[in-house]
């Protein structure tokens, strides 16, 4: 028996496949170009930015725009950079994520296992809320918060994020819990578990995967929010996105594009970090949020 292979070599690279790779690489370059421009612009000084091609690598690296964007760039009369915005965003995001994910998990659990008459009517109403444009609700909600005395405060913006995160989070928790075997729940009932006990000892320990998905969805969503932060957070709690926009859109003085780009990168670091470390979880979050129940 001859060990020499006979017949034509299997073709792995046909013309079609080469064309395909060329196309997909071109697409990849298009998608990467803004990120590339952002990074190299932040590493140039203004003279070079004015003189050279936006796509050229910097001739010499200049890092001065980074600390400037972080702690000195001006928004109006205040020149503290993005730093306060970063901490405000953390102060807003962390409690908002905890409250909205916790509350939605309980909602999903109640809807999946403890249905009562009318529960699904209100769930439908809540889901409907996911599609109402914010602009319809912003002003009346502002009035409600004003009446409650929490407009323009940290609790105010946390409440708003909890409200607007609720429909989609409740949906994904409910979908996850209805996919669990019902016998588990029945067994726990027979053992005398009540609403709270079953949630604490049976459901929560099984909720890790969906909770990760929900947290990723909320962290990126709340961090990236602009409109709600602008209206509800108040002057002292403005999130990073709002400050970023204020820094870049200053309509006096000389525009410093390198500082602008450093600020832009700094603002997207948190969601990008979440995206790159969470990978397929992020994708699962998108799929879970998109597929309706």
């Amino acid at each position: 028996m001859s060990a020499i292979p006979s017949g034509p070599r299997p073709k792995h690279l046909t013309i079609g496949r080469i064309g395909m790779y060329c196309f997909i690489l071109t697409c990849a370059l298009f998608f990467l170009m803004p990120l590339y421009v952002m990074i190299i612009t932040s590493l140039k000084d203004m003279d070079e930015i004015r003189a050279a091609n936006i796509l050229n690598l910097p001739k010499e690296l200049s890092f001065y725009s980074w600390p400037k964007a972080w702690s000195q760039a001006c928004t109006g009369f205040v020149c503290e950079g993005l730093k306060p915005g970063f901490f405000n965003s953390i102060k807003i995001t962390v409690p908002s994520v905890i409250v909205s994910v916790g509350l939605s998990a309980i909602n999903g659990y109640a809807l999946a296992f403890w249905r009562f008459k009318g529960a699904y009517f209100f769930f439908g109403l809540c889901m409907f809320g996911a599609f109402i444009p914010y602009q319809v609700m912003v002003y009346p909600l502002l009035k409600i918060e004003d009446a409650l005395g929490i407009y323009s405060t940290l609790p105010g913006i946390i409440l708003v994020h909890t409200i607007f995160g609720m429909p989609i989070l409740t949906l994904i928790f409910r979908n996850f819990y209805t996919s669990l075997p019902i016998d588990l729940f029945k067994a726990a009932r027979i053992d005398g578990g009540n609403f709270i006990k079953i949630f604490l000892y049976v459901i929560i320990p099984m909720s890790a995967p969906i909770t990760i998905v929900a947290v990723i969805l909320q962290v990126t969503g709340i961090w990236n929010d602009f409109l709600l932060g602008l209206v509800f957070a108040g002057r002292d709690n403005q999130p990073m996105t709002v400050q970023l926009n204020n820094i870049v859109q200053v309509d006096y003085g000389v525009a410093e594009y390198n500082v602008d780009m450093s600020a832009t990168i700094l603002t997207s670091l948190v969601p990008l970090f979440v995206y790159f470390i969470s990978g397929r979880w992020f994708v699962r979050g998108i799929a879970a949020g998109a597929i309706k129940g």
Binding site: M33, V37, N107, F131, V136, F226, L244, S268, I286
Partner: protein, 293 residues
């Protein structure tokens, strides 16, 4: 007693019920009621019928906003679907570096609209941006002055939006493609159907529910577009890229013309309902009806 058995569940769902009723339903009613008044700086109960709507439809600025939202909605939706589907198909070809490409195509989706807007504002900068690059490379005829061109500025918004959103469609479509039964591919290849034909005429129709979901989600998002345009063009040049959402926010917060803002926001709400109603009817009513039979 089912009523008592579920009392804990009712208490647990109380926040959701209260929020659904006061925020989602209550705010719409509030906005509608006050859209029938001539409120200016503060909401006052001074009934003027549908005057605000009449005045709204006479505004040149509102016409521009509506026209823009149609252009943007059309180009953005088609762009995302075509590019997203194409990328999903390419990635489905068992290419090398699949996960790398997926990461590249999806990362913009993790970023804030504000960041997207600001980056593209810099890339498309008429003095230092890509136009300048092309000139430096000797393509003197190349023009990319979209951001300062009244007629083209809205297409710059579309490019930035497609850049951000195409990855989302790709993920949805890829999930759909991966769910296609191997046997279908086998029989298609036995029949000798060309690959592109299989995708276009067999697989794509099979993905219809996913395509419809993607379209509805994108379209519902289109109506809300605000931060992206604020960051990219601030609605300019002039008010060439203004949108209904911007019109509403302007009348609420800088023009102190509440009645107009309420009327415009109600129109936004109605258009979202028009997009959603047929889909919801199909998804939840017809489907259940057929499932029951």
């Amino acid at each position: 007693m089912p009523l008592f058995r579920n009392i804990a569940s009712m208490i647990a769902l109380l926040p959701m019920i209260v929020i659904s009723l006061t925020v989602f339903v209550g705010c719409i009613i509030y906005s509608f009621v006050y859209s029938l008044t001539n409120s200016k700086l503060v909401p006052v109960m001074n009934y003027v019928g549908f005057d605000q709507y009449e005045r709204l439809f006479k505004q040149r600025k509102w016409d521009v906003a509506v026209e823009n939202i149609f252009i943007y909605g059309f180009v953005f939706t088609i762009g995302c679907l075509v590019i997203g589907f194409l990328l999903a198909v390419l990635i489905d070809q068992k290419i090398r570096g699949e996960s790398l490409f997926r990461t590249i195509f999806l990362y913009p989706y993790a970023m804030s609209f504000v960041v997207t807007g600001l980056v593209w504002k810099w890339v498309l900068n008429p003095t230092f941006g890509l136009e300048n690059s092309m000139h430096m490379w000797g393509f003197g005829w190349f023009e990319l002055d979209w951001l300062v061109n009244r007629d083209l500025a809205i297409y710059a918004v579309c490019i930035a939006a497609v850049w951000q959103g195409a990855g989302f469609v790709m993920v949805l479509m890829l999930a759909g493609l991966r769910g296609i039964d191997e046997d279908i591919w086998k029989s298609l290849s036995i029949e000798g159907v060309a690959k592109w034909k299989s995708y276009l005429f067999v697989i794509l129709p099979m993905l219809r529910p996913m395509v419809v979901t993607a379209i509805v989600l994108i379209a519902a998002g289109v109506v809300k577009v605000y931060d992206l345009i604020l960051a990219l063009t601030s609605g300019g040049p002039g008010y060439a890229t203004t949108t209904p959402a911007m019109y509403v926010m302007e009348n609420f917060f800088s023009r102190a013309n509440l009645g107009q803002a309420f009327a415009a926001s109600i129109i936004m709400f109605i258009s979202v309902v028009c997009i959603l109603a047929p889909w919801a009817f199909y998804e939840f009513y017809l489907r259940n009806k057929y499932a029951a039979n």
